[in-house]
Structures are given as structure tokens and as C-alpha cells.
């Protein structure tokens, strides 16, 4: 610790603290442009220069660490003149076109000049102009270099945080321009983090362009509704229309970063395809109806049905809704058949929860990336959880740590990993068994190695890195739920590491918002709220579909789930839904499933209701309502209670969200101490890890038997590719397809293979190819990725017309497919 005097105020700070941070701790604000917490300091803008007593020159406070006994002055005349001087230089070539600039009103340059700047211009020379008109860099980024202040935050965030590394500077001196290569169109993540960090109107959102002035906007704190990373966002509306989503510095684990989905994907809220009125099936077609008619229809149809209904849900629903939903099903209707996922077997979910110790309380991702070794397996983190990928990249660059990535497909995070292992799909278990053997000093089983498609050396390297660490962060993802045969080994490896006295932090990587919340609310056939085991288990999704096919299940209530598109076997799902006597679908859009429904109830988007959601870490965060649902659409909680009171006696017709959460606190136990208040506060200390928002451990441990048999691969042996699925980079489920911006980034189905395979087939990226499997064949665009395992093909689950589940059949293992030029 060192003690310094800043403007006469004594502060004691950690060694090597920057003067800027020390001043902020003392409550003194120093203006900056190029400084950004979490990016490496450059000290180039010279805005933050301060006077250090005894030193002749003014020093940049953002790169100068404090020394014991230093006396620093931040407000002397020399400092103030220097600031004004720097601002005058910024303005010398600045376009000064504030009246037509999107940033005007929230521009850091405007604010600085107002506070510190010269209020009279002296630059009476011709200005240098980079270009006359703004130019478009990507479908979401538009650029005006004439406004640039050369802080290079865009370039740095792209390189250091996002890892896309597509921005750089052209030219030199005052002709220096931060932009893409030769100002060409960007082929990148389109995440827009360059826009968010830009202090001026240089990088701008294209979809938001000329839509609003900052002072016209009303904002609401929210959480991104796509993956389960749980990024905090501020949604902003003008005249009742959501026009912008942005992240805030110092708020949430994502800080100022977001991915393309989080920053641009909110516009599904304003899609013209939203359902605005309840629909009832009459003479074969769905026709608009009033809420009373819809509830009446359901009441009449359900009257003769014994309590055998189900609900499959998690998409976009809050904790309050999922909790109320299971209460409605179990208590009011008396049906135990309730499941949260259309995609995964509930037994796998249970085993995964147990193996990842989710019942032992929440684990902060920020603690997880501060371990000695981060081991990512069974997750395509760079594309499914981009912000988690940013965190791993950023921390691994500034710390001495291992990052191990095990995945069949190459991903962006590979470049930040010091060990990358490419294994065959659905062989996570075999890989972990081999690692376990290597850890105990045995030679890995050749059969396991063969199945995983890895060498003994690779298994030994992973084992050595794990054994050589004092703490290990295991990040395991949804592939374990798709191929549950690996869960047993996943549980074993954590136990083995703990047995060696290591600190093991387990972070599940999930791909849907509030997935974890749904499980914790008890939307699971065998588990009640707070991971409590139910005495008698109900039917899971697959059993319910089987029962429906057999005619013993007559009603299904689906809230927010596109079961047909997402279930592991589309054939079975389609057959089952067609046989139902009553199918109630509650959704924002007329999905493929909704088109088969007898009654469609228009629900609301996450930004249209208050409540809480739980992310993959077990962090509970509040969301606030920004706009009203369109037309007659209602918040899902209201629909559930109204439906409940219509068909069951004693169910309240209206409950307040806050009172449901109080009940959740009481009933789950694990939510009892969760602190929601902090989450909406911007914290200046940049300590964005609020552990009070994490759920705590359940009273009793969840015991699950993780013995799942892997099914044999299906399809002719002559088909060379093993087909895997997951989410497309720009999509999550099917909702994102209704976002105009995200659909604009990727509208068509794609199949992705490795570079080597593509070369062998004589195919190149962008070509139209035919993918032929045993059960289905379809034409799609080819995407080629360098470094993907040989013999692996990937089809995202998102696109209509080529859903990956068309290729799969329940009971069959990995599908083999053939790819040929169409």
C-alpha cells in the first residue's frame, strides 16, 4: 500500500495503482478519452495529464502508477490550460457537425469542451477531411472518420476483448484513420463494441441512425434475452418503440461489452410479425378472438380432459412466470407433467445440474476466469456465449493462466487458449475418461482415445495442466445435454480434482436466457422449486410426446417454446402435436408450433414486463418494463393467472410480479438471500461482480445417476461427416430470426465444415451444397472454418426449412451425412 496526496487529499491505495484510479478513489474526476478500464493503457490522448510536484513535465495519469509520497495536483492552472489545449487540438480537424450527428447529446467531446474546453475557436485554417459522406462498414456499423478523436478504443476493444481483430489504423499523423482494411466491408462478429466504446460520433449504429436524439430516449434496465450469460443492457425507446440497446461501463459482468444479438437483436420486439391478438382455430384456420373467447375455448376443451397436460418452456420467460406456470400446472390443474426443455431429456438435465454442482449455489464467471486453468468443454462458447468468450480472452491476456479448449469445431477462443484439443462429436465422455486415466498416472485407454479421436499425448497434456493448477474453472456446455453419455465423466473429473485438493469452480454454459432460472423454479418433471426432489415424477417432454402419440395425453400448454423446431425428433413431435385434442401455444410469434395450435395466446417480450431472470452463473438480475406489448398481447404472467382462474377454481386472476418473487424467495430457499437492488446501480469502482446476486446452495444435494448409454452413429458408413448442431452465431432459438437486423446478418441455413474437408471435396465457402442424411436432405450455404476437426459438419438449429432436428431421430446417435455440390 502506498499513500499519496491528490489535491491535498491523502489516499492510501494498492501498489501500482494508476494515478487516475487513485484520484477516482479519492472522489476526484480526471477527464479522459483513450482510457478505458479493462483495456490496456496507451496514454495517447493526453487529456488526463496532471501535475506531479517535483516533476517538470505534466504526466498522463492513466498510465503513470503512484509512488509513495507523491503529491499530485489535478486542477492547477497549468493542468487546466493543458486540457483546454488538448481539446482545442481535437477540435482543430473535427467535423463540428453536431446538428446531424447521432452522438450529439451524449458525446464525450461535447461534454469535455463544455466543461474544460476553449470556448472560442482559433483554428481558422482549412480542415482536413477524410471523406465527404459517412461510409458503411458492416450491416450494423456506419462510420464518419471526420469526427474521430483517435483514442483507438475501437481498435483495442476489437483486438483485446472481442478477438476479431479486424480494425486498425490507416495513414499517419493527422491522416491517421481507425477503420477496416482499406475501408472495406467488415466480415466480423458485427458485435458493435467499437460503437459502444467510441466517445464521439465516429462509429455509429446503422439500424439506429437518425432514429432519435439521446434526450428523446427513455431507458429501462434489462437483461439480454438471448443466451444465458446474462448481460446487462439498457433498452431505450422513443414514442413507444424500442430503438436501441446498449451496455454500460461498470454495470453487470459484461461491463460495456455485448455481442451482435445483445446489441442489435432486440428489434424482434417491434417486428410486424408479432401476434397482437389471441387466435382460435375455427373451421381449420386460426382466427382472431378476444381474450374471453380464447379462455372460454380452452375451458370448454379442457373440461373433458383429465389432468394430464404439460408445459415446455423457457424462452424469454421470467422467473416469476416460470414459477407461476409450474404452480398452475401442479397445484391448480393437478398435472405433474411439466418440463422446461423441448430439446433435452429431463434425466440429462438432472444429471448435468448435479455434475455441475448447480445445486451448490451460484459461481461467478469472474471467479471462474481467475483460476489457474480454465477448461472449456462441450460448449461452443465463442458463438453461443460471446461475452463469456470476451471475459476468458481478456483475463487470459493479462494473467498467467491456462486456457484449455476441447471442441470438435474451431472457435475464436482457440487463439487465446494454450491448449486446443479437437475431438469427435459426442465423445466428451471418452475424452474426459482418457484425461482421468492420465491424471492417475495410467496410460489412457486406446478405445476411449479412438472414440474421442485424440492422441494419448493430448490427454496427458490436459491432465498435466489440470494437475499443475491449484484452482480449476470447468466450463461445460450444452453438448453434455445433447449427448448425456459424457456427464458421468464430467462429474468424475470434478470429484477427482477436488480429491487432489484443488479448488474447482464449475460454470455451466447455457444457450437460452433464464434456462437455469426455469430449472430452479421447478419446471422439471422430477424437481420442484429450488432443486427439491418431487415424490412422484411426471413425464418429461419426450414421454409426453409419446403419450400424445398413443392418445393418452390430450392437452399441451406450451409457453414460449417452439417445440416442433427444437425437439430432438421432428417427426415424433409433429405426429404428437397433430394428435392432441387441445394445443395451447403462448408466444410472441406464429411459430411452426403455433401454426398447429388450437389456441394461440399473444405473449410479451422480455422488455415488456418487470421481473427477474437467472443467468448461467446463478446470478439473479432484475428486468424492467420498457414498452407495452403490441395490440392485445399481454405479459405472460397475466395470461397465466387469467387462464388459471378461468379453468381452475381458486387460482388468483392477477398477481403482482414482486409478490411472486417474494414467494420464490420463501419457496425455493436458494433465492432467499438474493440481492436485486444493486443490479441497477452503476458502480464507479468497476467492481461489477456482485456476489450477493448469486443464488445460494440448496439445503439438500441433488443426487442423480449419470449413466447414459451413447447410441451408435446412424447413417451409411460411406457418409463421411458426423453432424453436430447448436446455435448460429447470430441466432438463438427461433426468435432471433424475427429480428430484422440479425436476420439481415444471417438469413439462410448454413452448413459448416473444416477447411481440409472442403479442400478434399473441392468446395469453397459461400457455395450452395446439398446435405444428405439418412432421414432428411436439404440445400444450404457452405461455410468453411479453418481448424475444425476432420469429418465434422455443423448445421445450426435455428433456421426454418433446415432445422437440424430434421436430420435426427430419437434413439439414434450422431447422424452421418454426405455433403455434395448442389
Amino acid at each position: 500500500m502506498v499513500t499519496v496526496k491528490i489535491n491535498g487529499i491523502e489516499v492510501t491505495v494498492e501498489d501500482n495503482t494508476l494515478i487516475l484510479d487513485a484520484a477516482r478513489q479519492a472522489g476526484i474526476d480526471i477527464p479522459t478519452f483513450c482510457y478505458q478500464a479493462d483495456l490496456m493503457g496507451v496514454g495517447s490522448c493526453r487529456m488526463c495529464i496532471v501535475e506531479i510536484e517535483g516533476q517538470k513535465k505534466l504526466q498522463p495519469s492513466c498510465v503513470t502508477p503512484v509512488l509513495h509520497g507523491m503529491a499530485i495536483n489535478t486542477e492547477t492552472q497549468a493542468v487546466q490550460e493543458a486540457r483546454a489545449g488538448v481539446l482545442e487540438f481535437f477540435l482543430a480537424n473535427h467535423a463540428l457537425d453536431c446538428p446531424v450527428c447521432d452522438k450529439a447529446g451524449e458525446c464525450e467531446l461535447q461534454d469535455m469542451v463544455y466543461r474544460h474546453g476553449p470556448h472560442k475557436g482559433r483554428h481558422a485554417e482549412p480542415k482536413f477531411k477524410f471523406h465527404e459522406k459517412d461510409y458503411i462498414l458492416s450491416p450494423v456499423i456506419v462510420k464518419n472518420s471526420n469526427r474521430c478523436v483517435n483514442c483507438m478504443k475501437c481498435v483495442r476493444v476489437c483486438r483485446e476483448v472481442v478477438g476479431a481483430n479486424v480494425l486498425g489504423a490507416l495513414g499517419r499523423g493527422d491522416h491517421q484513420e481507425a477503420t477496416s482494411f482499406a475501408r472495406g466491408p467488415l466480415d466480423c462478429d458485427h458485435c458493435g463494441n467499437c460503437i459502444e466504446v467510441c466517445p464521439v460520433g465516429c462509429f455509429m449504429r446503422l439500424p439506429y441512425r437518425y432514429k432519435a436524439r439521446p434526450w428523446d430516449l427513455k431507458g429501462a434496465d434489462s437483461v439480454c434475452s438471448y443466451c444465458a450469460t446474462g448481460c446487462r443492457i439498457v433498452l431505450e425507446e422513443r414514442d413507444g418503440v424500442a430503438v436501441r440497446s446498449r451496455a454500460q461501463l461498470g454495470v453487470g459482468i459484461n461491463n460495456e461489452t455485448l455481442c451482435a444479438r445483445g446489441r442489435f437483436g432486440f428489434d424482434y420486439m417491434t417486428s410486424p410479425e408479432r401476434i397482437t391478438t389471441p387466435l382460435i382455430r375455427k373451421s381449420g384456420g386460426l382466427v382472431p378472438a378476444s381474450w374471453e373467447e380464447a379462455f372460454g375455448f380452452i375451458k370448454d376443451a379442457a373440461a373433458s380432459i383429465p389432468p394430464d397436460s404439460i408445459g415446455a418452456q423457457p424462452r424469454g420467460l421470467r422467473n416469476e412466470e416460470t414459477y407461476t406456470f409450474q404452480k398452475l400446472m401442479r397445484e391448480a390443474l393437478g398435472s405433474p407433467n411439466i418440463d422446461s426443455s423441448a430439446r433435452w431429456a429431463h434425466g440429462a438435465v438432472e444429471a448435468f445440474i448435479s455434475a455441475m454442482a448447480m445445486d451448490r449455489g451460484g459461481v461467478s464467471v469472474l471467479d471462474c476466469v481467475k483460476t489457474d486453468t480454465v477448461f472449456v468443454i462441450g460448449a461452443y462458447v465463442s458463438e453461443e456465449n460471446p461475452v463469456t468468450d470476451y471475459l476468458i480472452r481478456r483475463y487470459s491476456a493479462s494473467r498467467n493462466m491456462n486456457v484449455i479448449v476441447a471442441s470438435p469445431r474451431a472457435m475464436k477462443l482457440d487463439s487465446s487458449a494454450n491448449l486446443v484439443v479437437r475431438h469427435m462429436p459426442a465423445s466428451e465422455g471418452a475424452l474426459l475418461e482418457a484425461v482421468l486415466a492420465a491424471m492417475s498416472g495410467q496410460e489412457p485407454d486406446p478405445k476411449a482415445l479412438g472414440q474421442a479421436g485424440i492422441s494419448a499425448d493430448e490427454a496427458k497434456k490436459i491432465a498435466a495442466k489440470l494437475k499443475g493448477s491449484e484452482s480449476v474453472g470447468i466450463m461445460a456446455g450444452t453438448d453434455f445435454l445433447r449427448y448425456p453419455s459424457g456427464i458421468g465423466a464430467l462429474a468424475k473429473i470434478s470429484a477427482a480434482l477436488e480429491g487432489l485438493g484443488k479448488k474447482v469452480l464449475r460454470l455451466p454454459l447455457l444457450d437460452r436466457c433464464n434456462q437455469r432460472g426455469a430449472w430452479e423454479m421447478g419446471v422439471h418433471p422430477a424437481l420442484g422449486p429450488g432443486y427439491s426432489r418431487r415424490e412422484t415424477a411426471g413425464a418429461g417432454t419426450d414421454s409426453m410426446l409419446d403419450a400424445a402419440r398413443a392418445g393418452s395425453l390430450k392437452m399441451l400448454y406450451l409457453a414460449g417454446t417452439d417445440l416442433l423446431a427444437m425437439n430432438g425428433d421432428r417427426g415424433i413431435a409433429g405426429e404428437a402435436l397433430a394428435k392432441l385434442k387441445l394445443l395451447v401455444v403462448q408466444d410472441m410469434f406464429l411459430t411452426e408450433t403455433a401454426k398447429l395450435a388450437h389456441v394461440v395466446l399473444p405473449g410479451a417480450a422480455l422488455g415488456e414486463k418487470d421481473g427477474t431472470v437467472t443467468n448461467q452463473e446463478g446470478r439473479v438480475q432484475a428486468v424492467k418494463r420498457l414498452t407495452r406489448p403490441p395490440g392485445k398481447a399481454m405479459a405472460d404472467l397475466d395470461i397465466m393467472t387469467m387462464l388459471g382462474s378461468a379453468i381452475a377454481t381458486g387460482f388468483p386472476s392477477k398477481i403482482k410480479s414482486a409478490s411472486v418473487f417474494d414467494e420464490i424467495r420463501r419457496e425455493t430457499g436458494i433465492y432467499e438471500t438474493v440481492d436485486l437492488a444493486f443490479n441497477n446501480k452503476k458502480n464507479k469502482g468497476n467492481g461489477h461482480d456482485n456476489k450477493e446476486a448469486l443464488v445460494r446452495a440448496a439445503a439438500a444435494r441433488l443426487e442423480a445417476k449419470p449413466d447414459f448409454k451413447a447410441a451408435a452413429p446412424a447413417g451409411p458408413d460411406s457418409y463421411p461427416f458426423a453432424l453436430v448442431t447448436g446455435n448460429h452465431f447470430f441466432h438463438s432459438g427461433t426468435v432471433s430470426l424475427r429480428s430484422e437486423t440479425l436476420a439481415g446478418l444471417a438469413r439462410e441455413p448454413v452448413v459448416e465444415i473444416g477447411e481440409e474437408d472442403a479442400g478434399k471435396l473441392g468446395l469453397s465457402g459461400g457455395e450452395r451444397v446439398r446435405v444428405r442424411g439418412k432421414n432428411h436432405e436439404a440445400t444450404m450455404l457452405l461455410r468453411v472454418r479453418k481448424g475444425t476437426k476432420k469429418g465434422v459438419a455443423f448445421i445450426p438449429e435455428n433456421f426454418e426449412g433446415a432445422h437440424a432436428n430434421m436430420f435426427f431421430k430419437r434413439g439414434e446417435g450422431i447422424q452421418r451425412v454426405l455433403i455434395e455440390r448442389s
Partner: protein, 316 residues
């Protein structure tokens, strides 16, 4: 360099040379080849077990690459822009490894010192900065060129002795720049200043690169300042604000003065801009630009003012 590397245990060294110097680069490549052939470079140098490789890196001629950290960036393949210090290159330099950086002129002294001894070397020049110095004389002298002389040779000796005096007998000395364009110029009254580090510093100038520019009385100081400043604004790397946006501003004002478009207050504006740049830049390039202009303003302010008042040059 091989001996230095052996002393500090470095296995790689680089010679950075400007892209324009084709002949020099080729000659160095040849020399490295010869050294390899003789076993002075490579895996096992002269049977000592010491391994060393030497590379010639050809830059593209940016002035900023003379700044040692910008030079390191350039070798690594990045834009040549200075790095923040600390860490200094001796701790984390090229590719993050501890790095010793020396000028060729420094290294070229070593063989002579080894051959003739330190005592001999110390006797050359003044006590505090002994040794030879290469003076590169250009401008209005009879015999411009490179002169290797003992450190501390006076300007009078250099100009009137070694260089054969002023180019035209009728045009006497007006000013001279003792050490490259960033060194403030001196006037004939300082002609007897020894050209070494301390003596020039005492006169408010510096030895710098030892490039001496001699100007006779036909030289317009505004034009001179304009050309020097144009160079600096062209060579500014763009990293920090005062240099990136300040030096082109100075250039624009100086260009107007030179072209007879001066406005009242321009001289004061130049001085004020100098204040805003000097000492606030990331590296000394911006300081250099200011020092040169301040030198000209200090001695020839009335000439600048004449350009403002009369929209023409009093000299040419």
C-alpha cells in the same frame, strides 16, 4: 553486437536500417553471410556453444522509427508508434524480451576502443563526452559532407576550417542548426561554441544527431521554419493529440505567412500553440518540432512579424 550479445546472453539481434539505404542494407547482408561462413554467427560460435543470429530489418523510412520503442514496434510488424514507458526496453523490449538498443555510431566506436585502448579514446574531445563525432554538414558551405572529428570541435572550426567557409563570400553566416532539425538554431555570436553535448545545452540548443545546417543571409527564416515544421507534421505518427493535431496546425499558419497571407496575431498564435504542444506529447517528436520553431522565433521574431505586417519577405 555479437560480443555484446555474448555478454548479456542474447541469442538474437537486429540491425534496423531505413528502407532507402539500399546499398548499406546489401552490404550488411553480405557481412552477415561472411560472419556465418567464418563461424562468427550461428549455432556454435567459434566452438563456444554460444548461439547467435543477426538479422537486417529494413524499415520504410518513417522518422518516428528513430524512437527506440517505435522501432521495436516496427520490427514486430506493427505500426511504428512509440510504446508507453515503463516498462523500458531493457526490461521488456522486442517481443516482450529484455532488449539493448544502441545507435550504429556508438557501436562503431567499439572496434577502435578495443584496438587502441580506452585511454586513447578518452583523450579525444572534452572530458565529459569524449570520443569522435560524425558531423554531417549541409547548407551554404563550400564543402558540405560528413566529417569525423573529435567531439567538441567548434562551429567556427567546422564551418570555416573543415568545410572551407561560406559558399558565397558576399553572403555571411545568418544562423546554423547544430544538431538536426529539432535542435534550436544558433546565430553567428555563438560561432565559437564547441559542438558537444554540454556546451550546446548551455546555449539552449543540443547536439542531437550532429547534423549541422548552415544558412547564409539570403535565407528566409519563415520559409526555413515552415519547411522544418512541414517535415515534423508529415512525420508525426498520429498517436498523441498535441503532436498529431498541433504540428499540422503550425504548418498551416507558417504556410500562410510564407505565402504572404499572414494575419495579425499569427506570431502570438504560433507561440501559444508551441506552449500547448511542448512537454505534453507522448514522445519527443512534438517537442522537437516546437524547439525548432521556438529557436527561429527567439532569434528572428521580427522577420516573422514582417511577414504578417507586409505580407512579404524581407530577405528574398
Amino acid at each position: 553486437m555479437i560480443i555484446t550479445s555474448y555478454a548479456i546472453g542474447a541469442t538474437r539481434s537486429y540491425i534496423y536500417i531505413r528502407g532507402e539505404f539500399d546499398f548499406g542494407a546489401k552490404r550488411l547482408e553480405e557481412a552477415i553471410k561472411e560472419a556465418h561462413a567464418k563461424g562468427y554467427l550461428g549455432k556454435n560460435i567459434l566452438g563456444s556453444g554460444f548461439e547467435h543470429e543477426m538479422y537486417v530489418h529494413r524499415g520504410y523510412g518513417a522518422y518516428i522509427c528513430g524512437e527506440e520503442t517505435a522501432l521495436l514496434e516496427s520490427i514486430e510488424g506493427y505500426r511504428a508508434q512509440p510504446r508507453k514507458k515503463p516498462p523500458f526496453p531493457a526490461l521488456a523490449g522486442l517481443y516482450g524480451k529484455p532488449t539493448v538498443i544502441n545507435n550504429v555510431e556508438t557501436l562503431s566506436c567499439i572496434p577502435a576502443i578495443i584496438e587502441k585502448g580506452a585511454e586513447w579514446f578518452k583523450k579525444l574531445g572534452p572530458e565529459k563526452s569524449p570520443g569522435p563525432k560524425i558531423y554531417c554538414v549541409s547548407g551554404h558551405v563550400k564543402k558540405p559532407g560528413l566529417y569525423e572529428l573529435p567531439m567538441g570541435t567548434t562551429a567556427r572550426e567546422l564551418i570555416y576550417g573543415h568545410c572551407g567557409g561560406m559558399l558565397h563570400e558576399t553572403r555571411p553566416l545568418k544562423a546554423f542548426i547544430p544538431g538536426g532539425v529539432s535542435a534550436p538554431m544558433l546565430t553567428p555570436q555563438d560561432i565559437d561554441t564547441p559542438l558537444d553535448f554540454d556546451s550546446l545545452a548551455a546555449k539552449g540548443s543540443m547536439l542531437g544527431s550532429g547534423a549541422v545546417i548552415v544558412m547564409d543571409n539570403s535565407t528566409c527564416m519563415v520559409k526555413m521554419a515552415y519547411i522544418i515544421n512541414r517535415f515534423f507534421s508529415h512525420e508525426s505518427c498520429g498517436k498523441c493529440t498535441p503532436c498529431r493535431d498541433g504540428t499540422p496546425w503550425l504548418t498551416k499558419v507558417l504556410r500562410r505567412l510564407e505565402h504572404g497571407e499572414g494575419r495579425p496575431g499569427d506570431v502570438e498564435l504560433l507561440e501559444s500553440l508551441c506552449t500547448n504542444i511542448f512537454g505534453r506529447t507522448f514522445c519527443p517528436l512534438g517537442d522537437g518540432a516546437v524547439m525548432a520553431l521556438r529557436g527561429a522565433l527567439k532569434h528572428f521574431r521580427q522577420e516573422f512579424q514582417y511577414h504578417v505586417d507586409h505580407k512579404m519577405c524581407p530577405v528574398s
